[in-house]
Symmetry: C3
Subunit: 337 residues, 3 copies
């Protein structure tokens, strides 16, 4: 794909070469995110960080990624008593807001809303999540993390063995990740969930058509015994009719250090899209794993900044200029690297 001026709306836009490109640029962003260096490449540029649905971490991650490139951020953090409630169309909102910035990141509760917005926007739009539909930067950061964790073990994404665990019916992240994995070869996927929360059939089919091996199970321990990545997800309480219904499933697939030690291969990497539910009744990933060096959940969050920086520089066509306007960080940054 041609990244310059492009909208980033769906992982379906990406071919394998595109992903390689994003990841290679993301790699080059590390010195900036880790504060050995700073860059002013987007000094004077404005991100419109339009969050019509609350999401502190995603919003701040996009904003920080843009600040790390030297740009400024204008944002909104909810519907407020917004124009949309006065009957404004997404078309109008897009036409107006796209006059205020150089690029827009948008989150909105309604499926398809970001694509509709992008059609009317005069600047590139990056999807920050549109309801149950897509959250492409999350999928990219997940795959980037997998790649990174495997590389440190001399492996690559082709040949990956991964278990996806939990609410596979509602989990937008595991859906998107599954779609991305279809671009790779020879992957072994274990799908671990209660029957009622199984991965949608069309995604299972897509994985099979890509030539991957699929194992479906309701049993955690056997499923994580021979994988490189155990990707756990939260029961998405907000997608159930009642809390009671969600409670039926909560805590069914808890992973903790003793299970890890007994059943997993050494160095099995644990991932989770965050937030993890640390309440006693859920506790998908026990805090006794916090000291485990293979717990990659916070590296995922850090990688999100790299991937978002990569997308901004690609879409705004400044990849080749980043280093030119770079300088050493003069302030204390000792804890970060």
């Amino acid at each position: 794909m041609d990244f310059i001026g492009a909208n980033i709306l769906s992982i379906q836009q990406f071919e394998r070469g595109d992903i390689d490109k994003v990841f290679s640029v993301a790699d080059s962003m590390k010195p900036y995110a880790q504060r050995q260096r700073a860059t002013r490449v987007l000094d004077g540029a404005i991100l419109g960080n339009m969050f019509f649905e609350a999401s502190t971490r995603t919003r701040v991650s996009f904003g920080s990624a843009f600040n790390l490139l030297g740009g400024a951020v204008r944002e909104t953090t909810g519907f407020e008593s917004s124009a949309l409630s006065k009957g404004e169309s997404l078309y109008d909102t897009a036409r107006v807001l796209s006059g205020y910035s150089d690029v827009i990141c948008m989150r909105h509760p309604q499926e398809g809303s970001v694509s509709e917005f992008a059609k009317a926007s005069r600047v590139p739009v990056i999807n920050g999540g549109d309801g149950a539909n897509e959250h492409p930067t999350q999928a990219l950061l997940d795959l980037y993390t997998i790649r990174h964790e495997l590389i440190s073990k001399g492996r690559q994404i082709d040949g990956l063995r991964i278990a996806m665990i939990g609410d596979l019916k509602h989990g937008r992240t595991v859906h998107s990740l599954s779609q991305l994995l279809c671009l790779y070869k020879n992957i072994h996927v274990s799908l671990v969930s209660p029957k009622e929360l199984a991965m949608p059939e069309y995604l299972v089919e897509a994985l099979r058509e890509a030539g991957h091996t699929i194992v479906i199970s309701e049993e955690l321990t056997a499923s994580i015994s021979q994988v490189d990545i155990a990707y756990s997800t939260r029961i998405q309480e907000e997608r159930f009719q009642t809390k009671a219904e969600a409670d039926l499933y909560r805590g069914r697939f808890r992973l903790n250090q003793s299970i890890y030690t007994e059943f997993c291969e050494p160095n099995t990497v644990i991932m989770h899209p965050l937030p993890r539910d640390s309440r006693a009744e859920a506790n998908e990933i026990d805090s006794d794993l916090d000291g485990n060096p293979n717990l990659a959940i916070f590296r995922q969050a850090d990688n999100g900044v790299l991937v978002r920086m990569a997308l901004f520089t690609l879409v705004l066509d400044v990849v080749h200029l980043v280093e030119k306007s770079a300088y050493d960080v003069p302030w204390f940054s000792g804890h970060r690297h």
Copy 2:
């Protein structure tokens, strides 16, 4: 008026020469807003963007205008559980907040609040809307748009023929625009509204005293047949006792492409303060006009950034410095111009 360090609270501050000055500076801001050039003239300056009432577009427009000049923005987006609810006076709020920035833009639901705030502020204050009272930058951007649309047809504001349509009783923008038009000559104004939502008499009087021709009507099609500008407004549901009462008037003066073609002169410009109500029952300006090059509603929004940039540079006295700290934009900005 002397702009340097001045508060911008009301359109009544402006004489015709002042408006010429604002508009001429606004013209010079175009390369920056359209991203051919960027400027760092306000690098290090801080805007306090104090929105004690939600208004996403106005807030982001002011913030972006300041960012486009190189400045930083601190903001608030509602009352929060704010000090005002603990009994703090506007005087105190102003004395405190004016220590945090170089200029303040303030919106507040209470009429007169911004002026009261400005009296105690130690930095210049720009009124971003104080209840039903004033929203001077909206009035300026409307008039700037009219001027701009007319210029491209070899005309000027003197001699303008304009129809104002809809809820002329509650519409703050048409009130302010009427007052501004009193500074010009030989204007023909058609006021089109239900009788109950007529333009307040004191404004009609003011227009007459300025020597303008006023026609009052309840009939849309005849009123728009010989005008340069058809300025439509939204039924301000929030100003009525009940939604039912507002519904009585909603959709009474719909403008669409077939009406436009049948009744308007070629190149009649359509304006609206936005947001337009695009729900089927209202639909003041039909979306079938979106492709009409004379639909100026999004140019109005874009012009808002220019006018706000102009006010910031005038009030902070940096008009002569903008170009000195300018540079070419190195990032992709292809869709914008």
Copy 3:
């Protein structure tokens, strides 16, 4: 203490020499806060201004302090429908958010939460208020103001005579100030409150152990007759069971110009942590004192910016670089100094 990379969580971290250091750096920040000069020393740095509880003035003060040093600010202004409501631990929140900025300022309604957060954070954390517990920058700005007001009279903190007035039971600011005063010598403290809202005994003991003279009283006028500072506080309505209970105490210790003239020594300085309650039934500090040059309440707010700038430069180790990246302010700043 070693400021570089340190968390600023509690006034108990500070010894007298540390305070001297903060105040001396704060003094050097004046030209920047008053806009004779600007500095880019933190150009490229990011503050995570994480306000999980609303507080407009404290939030904007921290943000402006960081902007005044050239840095960028990402922020959150409430719980939103945040991850914490989905069961996320403070540990996780801290691990994630600390990947997005160079330093974090955090306010949170829960006592001890900021310290817990700081343990997991990878960047320095400054406490912006954690419930009824601590608000160290408020205590520092109060003491800085006292020092500054005394210096202009040829005095110093040692030997200070101060009256603390109002709700001394719930007032976090007078608690913290009392603790800081224990680091100084020979202070005379009058504690003026209804018996039910008396200063907690452990703080009275601490002041006595520091060798200070303590007078406890329920009577305002006698208590303010021989003091350098009259420090008044608001009845903290939100800490009472009912508004009616708070109303019992509201307005019991009103200070106005005629009381001031009759009972205070000339040049007695009036302080208050703000917001002051200016409603008729409360009116702790009457607005007829607004013209009194000894009313220091707005100087307190201004000093807050200086103290916060000082902490940022100390923690990020750029004190010696501030002047190197400084430049003259080219925009209008006439009202500020």
